[in-house]
Assembly symmetry: D2
């Protein structure tokens, strides 16, 4: 199965970039929970395209319509469904791509998998646009987590090789000017999660969060705590000793990134996510015309982000929130 996540906070995403709509079904929101529509909308706007000079020019309000499960701002306990209409779709921009897969995109494996029946326009179900319903579900999870004292925040720490904010922007602008693109790294923290959340082996916090976060297009790596750098440390350097902090047992360093044995330690969960440069570039590329099987040159027209990292920040928060809230509900069964 696909486009579905979670056993307790269950989200099921649907839609294609140029279909009538995209949307999400959500289960696991407790009856009686108030969902603040303004807070949610503000969260969604952080992801929306066309917000600033650095993003694609496709401009959509991305206002979700809630079809059921919320009445007067309060969850009824029934499944929630929300959709976003695809109002601004210029399919013709993609016409010349019909038989020529774009390098770095899902086009070619999708062609094989779906036998050519997939909706090629705009990337179909593989479009980055599908992160909008992810953010609806994640934005609601963030509100629910906040009531449990858990917060999640992410920020870009590298873009185009730069770590300074202004230089990041310059790198994006330079890539745009060249018809090229840049990638980056987002770091995120989950704060306030009590110790003991997460399950052994395949349902540990790392497993759960990785399964969710790799659902964001362009993610190619994920690490927790010291991550790959831990491979260079000695045990005596990487282990987090325990002490008494604010009267409670706690690790006094956090090389583990808040997770041991798949379970939260009570320290912040710290993780980093690597994004490849967005594959949609204006430069000419080599590809193959699948209808004739002959090599061809491809120039992708249309509107493209030179960097998805900024818009991906709320997506990372959303994906993490979904995973963490699902784990927290799992924990409730044990108590």
């Amino acid at each position: 199965m696909s486009s579905t996540y979670g056993k307790n906070y269950c989200i099921s995403i649907f839609g294609e970039s140029h279909a009538a709509a995209i949307g999400v079904k959500i289960e696991g929101v407790p009856a009686g929970a108030r969902i603040d529509a303004d807070v949610l909308q503000a969260f969604l706007e952080r992801r929306a395209p066309g917000r600033d000079a650095f993003s694609t020019a496709r401009r959509e309000p991305d206002m979700p319509e809630f079809l059921c499960g919320i009445k007067d701002g309060i969850a009824t306990g029934a499944p929630i469904a929300a959709i976003i209409r695809n109002s601004d779709t210029r399919s013709k921009d993609y016409g010349n791509l019909a038989n020529v897969p774009r390098p770095g995109h899902a086009d070619y494996p999708a062609e094989v998998k779906f036998g050519g029946y997939q909706d090629r326009a705009g990337g179909g179900h593989f479009s980055g646009r599908l992160t909008a319903p992810l953010c609806i579900a994640g934005g609601i999870a963030l509100q629910l987590l906040a009531r449990e004292g858990v917060s999640i925040s992410a920020r870009p720490i590298r873009i185009g090789g730069e770590t300074d904010g202004e230089k990041m922007k310059a790198a994006i602008a330079a890539a745009r000017a060249e018809g090229d693109s840049v990638g980056g790294v987002i770091e995120a923290e989950v704060r306030g999660l009590p110790a003991g959340v997460g399950d052994p082996m395949f349902d540990g916090m790392e497993n759960r969060m990785a399964q969710a976060v790799f659902g964001i297009p362009a993610v190619k790596g994920m690490e927790f705590g010291e991550g790959f750098a831990a491979a260079e440390l000695k045990g005596s350097e990487n282990n987090d000793p325990y002490g008494i902090v604010d009267g409670k047992v706690a690790p006094i360093t956090n090389h583990a990134g808040g997770i041991l044995g798949g379970m939260s330690t009570g320290a912040p969960i710290v993780f980093r996510v690597a994004f490849k440069p967005t594959p949609s570039i204006g430069k000419e590329q080599d590809s193959v015309d699948l209808s004739s099987g002959t090599p061809t040159k491809l120039v992708v027209k249309g509107r493209h982000d030179p960097c998805v990292v900024l818009r991906a920040v709320p997506c990372v928060e959303a994906a993490a929130a979904i995973a963490v809230y699902d784990a927290l509900l799992e924990r409730k069964k044990e108590i």
Copy 2:
């Protein structure tokens, strides 16, 4: 739920380090499939402790007993179950740890999660020993994949900061001499997987493989293709152009590590896994006596690996095999 993986090739692991046995139930092996016991045993021995000077001295045959599902070497189609008896358990070595969580281990969050009822001896269900049933399931998956033309191989590429084989061994020996430990990085490849395997969003190849691989203790990071390095590249550098290779459409470079949009491209799936240094070290560490709530010094006795990376190589192959075979079975429904 925990210790369970897969929707098609379903494995369910049980056991604790010092309980009567550890084991695994496996579903999804096709009736009539021949399982080569010698090949499986040779695979398991790559993981077994006590094989060489670099591993823990705990020496166990780790011979699985197959309880059902295989008759005369042929899968019957019924669930397979295999167990390994825990014959060599020195619980007393762990006696002084009863109330003092070891830094870097699962002890403390497990204490919180299970309210002190977990089996502390040897790490209980969180022991690295539980990778033995993982390797049983993975070893069988590798045999099944081989018949589909798919192979998986892994190797250490960094240990203790070294990339050369002899220097890696020296780094391990030095760590052992100091009562310390070192981590490392394993790189693996999946070859022969056709294009179009893997599903959108949360069931992409990266998601599936990450959910499995993070089930190996000490894994703190995972990346595919260029991974974190992709964040430093431009789209024009990272995109893999398509061409005609051996008469077929194929990406002519493989920065993507064989995965686009969560689906295999037909190129090898390449990934790297970061292992932290094993937390069991001989050096004195700070911890807290949970029964009294007072800080204390901890010296962990017993037998410990100064480096789990070498033994983790088959575990990475096993975890990947489970994920890949599950995805391949999913694909069969579509064809």
Copy 3:
């Protein structure tokens, strides 16, 4: 989780009777499959209210809008989502029920479960109206099954104690005249399913079909083959001997209703479903005002079916189709 069915043909239903819409997400429709909209609509109309003198007067077109997953009548391989707007909702009819649970309805346990936050109007998520998205998913499954040579048909065999068609109608009319209601029994057959479909123990054909069919409101019993009557037979009477039929091995009687050991035998799957009389009646009933905790008399106004059995016939076909197609996809992994 709730309102979700299947591991291969996965349906996820959402909506409330008086919310903006009801709908369904469907996964598992093969890319390239043609969905005949006219055939589907004709199927949905068999379930729709207001079709004849025997059904509730609520009249809605119940035309689904397909949001994604189908393009030009062809499945794209992406999840399918369809919604039906709730256009004709007279919430005020239900005003006096706000605090007084209707006997035989889900009102009271829903009140306890959801703490009063559930949408009471029209039964909310428990409304029989939610069988419309069930029939969308089932109608599509029926089309897919037809291409595999499998057909499913159901018919009422008892209504209000009558077995003759005209007498059934008379019983319904009499119940309506009295402000009362009647139940009945539907019998259904699955034809063309090859032997060997269905899985051991909890995923046998009976288990799968029961899990789906009990999802139709008002179902209180289900039996296969001889069913409860088998309890009165001897083994020598109930066993189905094997013989050669049309040159192939087959059971030459079908007391088993086409299922042995949870697996299809190749004979038609025959089952019967018991429907209770619809709980919405015009007669005065005893209930309790939950706000004051005092007994009260209740007269339910609004529009009600005196018998849901006729409209439930396509629902039974739909639920069975979903279960059978899911099992058939499971089988594909084995071959």
Copy 4:
């Protein structure tokens, strides 16, 4: 997937009648829960064969060995695994059945499904013997439910057409004397379950319990409350009015069998299960030799129950307990 049940109290059964062992893995037992081994053993003995003159002469202690997850009688929170060795297997009794499927058994569809690779001896994974691990999991669930104030009890209400206890025994004895068998009906009650347990549509109490109970071999029908008889009633007869009972709101009759809208009403859940006569009979039957495709006469030798209903009573309690405890854990997430 097969032989697996539950999302919260998860049981996974393995084994074949003549393999080395049968067993079960259980997840969802809370850490710290005491499991009374004597109570469990007494429960298992109610199911064990060879207990009285009416059961098969195969006599096995059926003592489970707990491999992990329980230490000193206390659940550790890790998965529980238990196995029962198959000590008394006379495979040669089944030799002549190798190619001739027994009418009424799973033999023929299993032959098709598993291509002849299934373990035919004793019914393999389809053997009634697999109800032993079901009863281990169910017996533990019963103990856990008891601490929540929930009890489950079942009893035969019809055997061989008789409703009186002595006449039931006489019917069994008569069937045995004839080399024949009889079926029957078991009625069961779940008491003490609070209102509001169970989930909409496919995860209602009926759906959940049916999925579990149809996992017992020979079950061909299941009904709740009035069940099939409800189809003959009018709404005014079948509806359960609400009143104040012991100071609390409650239905004052229980035609619904304690379930409305899939949710418990607080009244006892009452259900009945139809068992076909056991297919193993001593009489000559018609079958087909699958190796030659020619009709043949079959006489089944070996030891057979003339009636499984008595031994099935604890199985029904076990299956119901698993379903109810799983639903109760689901409910915990909501509170």
